[in-house]
């Protein structure tokens, strides 16, 4: 198992190298450049060239890449053109916000999606099954940002139940040793702050988690339907076990196998959704940071952010593969 994990992590190296080349080329293919973004459209040719020279953008692209890669090996992702701060520093500051949001969203999707899909399968073609089918189709086809805006309008603007932006009320002071605000509130032992963090997290997490929720519910339902007609479920019933034991031990454990895979894939997709959700809720995470970087052609930030997202996706999928081995004894990684 350990060797398998090490191998998978080692495979991450070529993935990240390939990705860095693609991203590097891609961000430079965007029209405009940091100089235009900094100086505006009326900038003179000389000032644009001066900035490009300063940033090294006048060099041939492969020279730029080699210099970038050389810095990367030393852990230097470069600096933001706009803030002049190192990318790594900003990333460390912002990624906890995104991870916290993504984790909450997936947690919501899993905790609601699996029971929903399971019950729908057990009541196959019943009212609940059909309702959940319609609801998931709506959930899947609703754009994240639109759902986020509607929720914000209803729950923040109209009803005033939940805060509409940010991670914490600005009047509240909380130490941020980890930048995971939930953890920070626990560390500080501040109950009220914790509640406030949760309240801020609620809407973005639900908005972001809706599509994964719908997909997880659908997959759970399909997998459960398959398992329900398996011979071993009949065997379990013939043994005279209680329905609860059959459901949990014999059905759910088997139907979770495909669901776990989907959770991994959804986590990757979630990150795209995070950019939109973070923007709507002014969430100070990697998503808004990258959106700004796109607008400002902030190459270093964009490269750093995408590589970070890729890293996250690979790690999540590794975790999924590992948990797969625990769920399915027929798979043992050598």
């Amino acid at each position: 198992m350990l060797r398998y994990v090490a191998k998978r992590l080692l495979l991450l190296v070529p993935v990240l190298i390939g990705l860095s080349i693609l991203v590097f080329a891609y961000v430079r293919a965007l029209p405009g450049g940091p100089a235009i973004a900094l100086l505006g459209e009326r900038a003179t040719q000389e000032s644009v060239e001066a900035i490009n020279r300063e940033l090294g953008l006048d060099q041939p692209i492969f020279v730029q890449y080699l210099r970038y890669a050389g810095n990367l090996i030393q852990g230097d992702f470069g600096s933001s053109v706009l803030s002049r701060r190192p990318v790594v520093e900003e990333l460390l500051e912002r990624f906890p916000a995104t991870v916290e949001l993504g984790f909450a969203a997936i947690l919501f999707a899993v905790l609601a999606g699996i029971p929903l899909g399971f019950v729908a399968a057990k009541r196959y073609q019943g009212v609940l099954d059909n309702t959940s089918l319609v609801a998931s189709l709506i959930g899947i086809s609703f754009p994240v940002f639109f759902l986020a805006l509607i929720m914000k309008y209803i729950f923040a603007v109209r009803l005033g139940w939940l805060p509409s932006i940010g991670r914490l009320d600005i009047t509240r002071s909380l130490e941020h040793p980890t930048n995971f605000y939930l953890l920070d509130a626990i560390i500080a032992g501040d109950g009220a702050a914790f509640v406030d963090v949760v309240a801020h997290l609620l809407m973005p997490a639900i908005a972001l988690g809706t599509i994964p929720l719908a997909i997880i519910a659908r997959i759970t339902r399909a997998a459960t339907l398959d398992v329900l007609s398996e011979d071993y479920v009949r065997t379990a019933r013939a043994k005279g076990l209680t329905t609860a034991v059959i459901d949990r031990r014999h059905i759910l454990k088997n139907s979770l196998l495909p669901v776990v895979t989907v959770i991994g894939l959804q986590t990757g997709l979630l990150l795209t959704g995070a950019i939109l959700t973070e923007t709507v809720f002014a969430w100070p995470g990697v998503g808004t940071w990258m959106l700004n970087a796109i607008n400002n052609r902030d190459y270093a930030v964009l490269q750093g952010g995408i590589v970070f997202f890729a890293f996250l996706v690979v790690v999540v999928n590794l975790l999924v593969d590992i948990s797969y081995a625990f769920l399915n004894p027929r798979i043992r990684y050598q």
Partner: protein
């Protein structure tokens, strides 16, 4: 009173507006220690009958009539919670395909102990010890070590042994084996049948063996019911059934089995036609369309089981047929040797050739 008394059991399936009449009134008794075979081709309702008795029919199926009395209680009307205590505890089942009847994600030990813990209230340690000795009883080497293994680590024959160990774990009074050897190769089949025979003898369990294979019942069951289109068409002590089959369907089954001791070299003689489309309730002999002996009566009236000659009780030979197969056709088919001194077997009614 018999241990298990089945009366007019009927099962229907509803699918897409159609009703399939899977089982159309079967009756039999089972006493402690009895070995009973139910033989018929695929889709004749033999497996469905056993599932119905235990209340574990698939969702589309439902019992539409009859009683199944076990120890004085009608299983078909028992509340599910009470029936659950009988399932696996008093009446247990071995299933056809050992590759799919065991849960792939649970250890064999877990699957063995769960019935013990549910029905016999054993604690974890007792159940594990008992599971080990159960595996040992069904002939699995290194039984105690293998409790931690998963089903995919066992061969087909070994898995079926696990299935049997699971079924006998609570020392049931009735063991229903539904095609227990169909998915196994021939040498393993013989081992599994031998194991079932030994267990039934030693534990004093009653056995219901459901199969399509006459060879399987021949070696194990004292009495055999032949089932066709959801009804019993012939029932007799197994030896009598093989020596003196009366229903054309039984004869057809026997003729389609290759025999090493055939009188002369003959081709196998399969039963022509296809099984009855069961989307209506039978009102005439269901076998008539495939039967060389069918008369107008067969096409119009439903034959019921009637006793042949004088034998009653355990020796009774009953057949549901308007035109039982005559002696000389049995001889011609090589099922019987020609009678030595012109003695004829007593038949039901006159012998009418087709």
């Amino acid at each position: 009173m018999p241990l298990l008394e089945v009366r007019d059991l009927a099962v229907r399936f509803s699918t897409r507006g159609k009703t399939v009449y899977a089982v159309n009134g079967i009756s039999f008794d089972l006493d402690p220690g009895d070995t009973l075979g139910i033989v018929g081709e695929s889709g004749c309702g033999k497996s469905v009958s056993s599932l119905a008795m235990l209340g574990i029919l698939p969702p589309a199926g439902r019992v539409s009539g009859g009683q199944v009395t076990f120890d004085g209680e009608d299983l078909l009307t028992l509340p599910d919670e009470r029936l659950r205590h009988i399932r696996g505890n008093d009446i247990a089942m071995v299933f056809q395909d050992p590759m799919t009847s065991l849960n792939p994600v649970l250890t064999v030990g877990r699957q063995l102990t769960e019935a013990l813990r549910t029905h016999l209230d054993m604690d974890k340690k007792e159940a594990a010890a008992e599971a080990g000795s159960l595996l040992d009883r069904v002939g699995i080497p290194d039984a105690r070590q293998r409790l931690r293994d998963y089903p995919h680590q066992f061969s087909g024959g070994m898995r079926q042994r696990v299935g049997i160990a699971m079924a006998i774990s609570c020392q049931p009074k009735v063991l229903i084996a539904d095609e227990p050897t169909t998915a196994l190769d021939v040498t393993i089949q013989a081992q599994i049948l031998e194991l079932l025979r030994t267990l039934v003898r030693e534990e004093g369990m009653a056995l219901i063996l459901v199969t399509h294979d006459l060879g399987v019942v021949a070696g194990v069951c004292a009495r055999t019911h032949v089932m066709y289109a959801g009804r019993f068409v012939e029932t007799a002590p197994t030896a009598e059934l093989f020596a003196n089959p009366k229903h054309p369907y039984t004869v057809g089954l026997l003729k389609s089995v290759p025999r090493l001791d055939a009188v002369r070299k003959q081709r196998l003689d399969p039963i022509g036609g296809a099984p009855r489309d069961q989307t209506s309730e039978p009102t005439a002999c269901a076998f008539a369309p495939r039967c060389a002996y069918a008369t107008s009566e067969s096409w119009e009236q439903l034959p019921v089981l009637r006793e042949l000659d004088g034998a009653t009780g355990a020796a009774a030979h009953r057949v549901a047929c308007w035109n039982p197969v005559p002696e000389r056709d049995l001889v011609a088919a090589g099922i019987r040797r020609p009678p030595a001194e012109g003695q004829s077997s007593a038949g039901l009614g006159e012998e009418r050739p087709a």
